[in-house]
Symmetry: C2
Subunit: 514 residues, 2 copies
């Protein structure tokens, strides 16, 4: 599989190669965002103090549950918590003390070292949608996701300039048995892309498989000394840590691999129906989860996660791109920074069933807010549709294009002499125009961010070309990208070893669909 | 016309009245936004000092042109500027000195006193799109705007909860002669709505007509003592003040009516192709324009305007919702606040030809940025399509709905004891859910902003109902709103006097279409 590119190349004659060169898309990956703009903060110091105080009260008085995990309860007792049944009550200040060993930022290595990412600080790393059981595109409509869809999304992410990360379960390949699909998914990330990726969390044994596949890809010593996966550990809010997710976290932390410790909250259902109350619970849950990761291995890389949104109380449906979701995210960012932890939140969130205007309003609200909130790792940064039930092909490239705008915003304002442009103003003067002036000629190519997808043509041209809407343009782009995909090269020995590992693992157990 | 509502009511029987009551839309207008969140600032103090210094250099060295306006040149000479031909060079610091008499905020009165708005400070007043020669809707496609379209937009703005202002030229009624259409437009704002509105600026005589119609509506003394119109004075960037716009400004300033003094800039064409250079020119132009307003009448209410966006250098088309447009707007907000002036910028900007995802991404980028930039008066807050060439009916209600999200965001975070929700967290505990708890029951109705338009239904319901996209939902809403429109009451004597004024003016001159 990994040898496909060189083989294809060698088959092509000189003319074919030149033709390919002309029509090929240049595959570029932007460096992760390094913000040169401030974070937006909605909470006062006093408000933050109140929330921090209340979160400690929650941990001390109410506590959290660690389910079906006797070893975790023993560890908590040894660490100084008060354990009763599965309830863990954490004395005021203890969790905060334990998390001090967590790094404020860490590097996740990619197999292409140029695509390694630094998560934390002023940085923002963008990764695609995670988890949808369905996919949708113009041609096929809404349907269950398959491994073929999964591979396509990995290819699209690889070819998307503004995505720094290949993600994890970009969709659930429902045609592969549950107990084996993580193997195919990891193999796809490792061989179809060279961007950093996430590991499996659906069972501790699958987390272990993920580590072992990384040891093949990166080398065993490298994996033990470096972080090569960032995986998503959801908390069952309110305040419940189940054995599957915690089992996966234990595997990753022991192997020095990064975890996002992330409450999954629809406000009003899994947390109080208020911003301050939700933030209190988020902080309590994250403190407990990250403290536990540091009990497992002090210094294990972790991310303060917050997958939080609002609810429509009439229908019970989660709502996205709402002001309250923004308030929670801004506040969570402030809390994460006060703890000195990398922060994960936001994404291309929407409730719409189609990649239409609703989807774009909600998504744009969320993406902008995520940048301004100081998010360091943005999962779901493109492709999310219908409350996360659907990974949409067109929306994937539409959102991925908008991520370019975030890169531009984060740059801040250049104030050097050339940017001040006084000579241009002198040259042009009142009533003139700048299109032809020397300063414009020298600077226009890098001056303004430009979409690779959206329509900027005059009305008449647009109409002659078929009056295409954004979804149609995006459908064309998906097709064009996939047609021009070229697999990144990989040492055939490693590729073979990975394939053998997957084959052997698959053969070692019967299919299971639960 | 003004008596229509009472007459219609008296004709209906009891049953009809009750039916009307049940199906009628409640017409509510939200109070203008009073921000309880910080402004987002991208420029350092040092950067602002540089831009202010450079703007003074532009005024002193290069100067601005006042075209076909000998009286303006005399006034400038008397004020201490150096005039040569039509060029006005303003010594460093003079413009800044002159604008000190401009108020930092002012009240624009509506004929319904409950709908008067305070422009400046932490407030944000939202007004609809201004100026498009075309309209578009699902049924009729893209076509030249007519007075009938204009009336519909005024009705929609009147019925839109989140619009505080009726605007001005919501579209250009191209079926009415150019020299008479301002009369019909003002009559529509005055009689079909009771929200504040804008006056005509296409000729000084039409500004005078606007003042005279306001004197009929509000009373002559009231108009001289209060601001009842906020009108849009565009600067012909770079650095050119034409006699038509300045003539209108002179009329309004003399009559104590407010003007937005607003460079209209596509960066790279009418200003340098850099953020810092564009901000320098914007500041120079606004300083000159507002200083001139204060020469006309010290204390006349004015707004620091900035209608600025980026360009696609390939096609020459303006581009919207881009990072550079955001940088300019954030920076302009900082400059306006340093001058202590109300700030106008942003809007539902987009380049898309349809109210599709592109339109919504671009619009959402602009609307969010406008709120965060500290904008005090947002013209074009809904309905803008295709670079401002088109007023779109569906997008009007789509954007107007999103303005509700801005209201929610601006509220900030409630930190009182009820919002802290500690009792709810205690009541529910680990593993529980909040849907039924006492705190949720007591707070859910006001907890989260909810769209009046977007689809929050489960996939299956949505599909059964016809799988409608946002544009289709919006089309239904436009129809529903217009069907349920009820004209606000107006003293029949005033209504008659306004109609007579318009008839008399129209009869006094032949039609002109230039």
């Amino acid at each position: 599989m990994a040898g496909a590119t060189p083989r294809r190349r060698s088959r092509g004659g000189g003319g074919a190669a030149r033709r390919a060169e002309r029509t090929a898309i240049k595959i570029e990956t932007a460096k992760y965002i390094e913000r040169n703009i401030p974070n937006f903060e909605v909470l006062s110091e006093e408000a933050l103090d109140i929330i921090e105080h209340n979160a400690e009260t929650v941990l001390e008085e109410i506590g959290v549950n660690f389910i079906d995990n006797p070893a975790a309860l023993e560890r908590w007792t040894a660490a100084g918590a008060e354990v009763s049944g599965e309830r863990v009550r954490i004395p005021r200040g203890l969790a905060r003390q334990l998390i001090k060993t967590a790094p404020s930022q860490f590097t996740q290595h990619a197999r292409d070292p140029g695509k390694s990412v630094v998560i934390g600080g002023n940085n923002l790393v963008l990764a695609p949608v995670y988890g949808p059981p369905f996919v949708r595109d113009v041609q096929g409509g809404r349907r269950y996701a398959t491994m073929d869809d999964f591979n396509k999304f990995v290819k699209l992410a690889y070819m998307s300039k503004w995505l720094h990360h290949s993600g994890g379960t970009v969709c659930e390949p429902t045609d592969v048995p549950v107990n084996k699909r993580h193997l195919d998914m990891l193999l796809a990330h490792m061989t179809l892309s060279d961007k950093p990726f996430m590991g499996s969390v659906t069972d501790p044994s699958r987390a272990q498989d993920s580590v072992e596949m990384c040891e093949i890809l990166f080398g065993k010593d490298f994996v033990q000394e470096n972080t090569v996966m960032t995986s998503l550990i959801n908390i069952n809010s309110p305040m419940t840590f189940d054995d599957v997710m915690m089992g996966a976290l234990e595997v990753y932390a022991r192997n020095n691999q990064a975890c996002i410790v992330s409450p999954f909250i629809v406000g009003g259902a899994m947390a109080p129906v208020s911003v301050a109350g939700t933030l209190t619970q988020v902080l309590a849950e994250v403190l407990a989860g990250i403290a536990y990761s540091q009990i497992i291995r002090p210094g294990a890389p972790v991310i303060f996660g917050a997958m939080v949104t609002s609810i429509d109380m009439n229908s019970g449906a989660p709502t996205f791109g709402t002001p309250e979701a923004s308030h929670i995210t801004y506040g969570a960012g402030q809390l994460a920074r006060r703890l000195g932890l990398p922060f994960r939140s936001a994404g291309s969130f929407c409730g719409s069933k189609l990649p239409d205007a609703q989807a774009a309003y909600e998504t744009s609200n969320s993406l902008n807010m995520g940048l301004m909130a100081g998010v360091n790792f943005m999962l779901h940064a493109c492709g999310w549709l219908e409350g996360g039930l659907v990974a949409d092909f067109e929306k994937f490239v539409m959102d991925a294009d908008q991520l370019g705008a975030l890169h531009g915003l984060a740059k801040g304002v250049n104030m050097d002499e050339n940017a001040q442009a006084m000579d241009a103003i002198r040259e042009v003067g009142p009533g003139g125009h700048y299109l032809g002036c020397a300063h414009t000629q020298a600077n226009f190519q890098s001056a303004f961010w430009k979409s690779d997808l959206l329509d900027y043509k005059p009305f008449e041209t647009w109409e002659e070309e078929g009056a295409r809407d954004t979804r149609t343009l995006a459908s064309n782009r998906v097709e064009h990208l996939l047609a021009n995909y070229r697999q990144p090269s990989l040492d055939p020995e490693i590729a073979g070893a990975l394939a053998a590992y997957v084959a052997e693992k698959k053969a070692s157990m019967p299919d299971a669909f639960i």
